[in-house]
Symmetry: C2
Subunit: 149 residues, 2 copies
Amino acid sequence: MQNQSNNMTIDPVNILKEHSLKHTKQRIRVLEEIALDTVAISQPELEKKLGKEIDRVTLYRILNIYEDKGILHRIMDMNGTANYAICSSSCSEDHHHDEHVHFNCTNCTKIYCLDVVLPQIKMPQGFTAATMHTTAYGICEKCSVMVSK
Amino acid sequence: MQNQSNNMTIDPVNILKEHSLKHTKQRIRVLEEIALDTVAISQPELEKKLGKEIDRVTLYRILNIYEDKGILHRIMDMNGTANYAICSSSCSEDHHHDEHVHFNCTNCTKIYCLDVVLPQIKMPQGFTAATMHTTAYGICEKCSVMVSK
DNA sequence: ATATAAATGCAATAGTATTGCATTTATGAT
DNA sequence: ATCATAAATGCAATACTATTGCATTTATAT
């Protein structure tokens, strides 16, 4: 459910068009790679996979642009490294609707985007929240199966 | 309310005793500095303040031990840098009860520990959450006052 | 007072991310 | 299709965050 490949539904060229970004082969590759799985992928993993095709710096720049445009969202893991996943279609440059819950497995370190909606939380007087990030830390589906074997 | 100095209620030497840690002047200084404010302080800020007194590496090691022991809790900010705040008294080595909500100001970058309790969120089948981190991003009390002036 | 284990400081190194600049590429106008 | 132009890329250098190994210093239990 969280793990399904969703590359069928992602059209990199179209996404680039929608956000008036030039479609270079590097930008297309990055989207293809991230779209392979709804589980978020870390910058180091991306670099390992794409390092021969795309320069480190270019990769960073592409990831930043995609985040700015609301194409990807960025989740920090417990080590402070950036992880990326495709945003739901409702995200835009103005506002990231990534108010869902992330699950960061402390065993395999994978980050899942859960289909759980975060309950509304009321802020104290004077504090205005624009976005909300929630991450649960624990053992994921796959790892709990492996452990119990 | 979130901002009050709480150094009256923090006794570094006692905290160290409770966790059977040797009380060195470096460890005491770190606790003193962090206890000055309930707003979390980042590693770089701490290093700037304590860099003349304490070696970088020692500071990292002290922060790691304090986190392991449940004395401090660590909050990652949007840049992936570690921020530290004193844990509530109920935290222990076994379990961090830091299920409260953090507020990360996108203007001044300060991280507040809010007195808001996170509603229970139920995990999907197979996922077991041990801890839960929620961070709201937006404009804090102080910054919204400044802006409105 | 002293032995011992632990903590510290220093040097080196690893990992993550950014900046500046020359070269290459995508795209709109011709 | 060609070309001019602005934008994207690649490369080198650099900054920032964090960790490891080892010699020296320090806390504390005897």
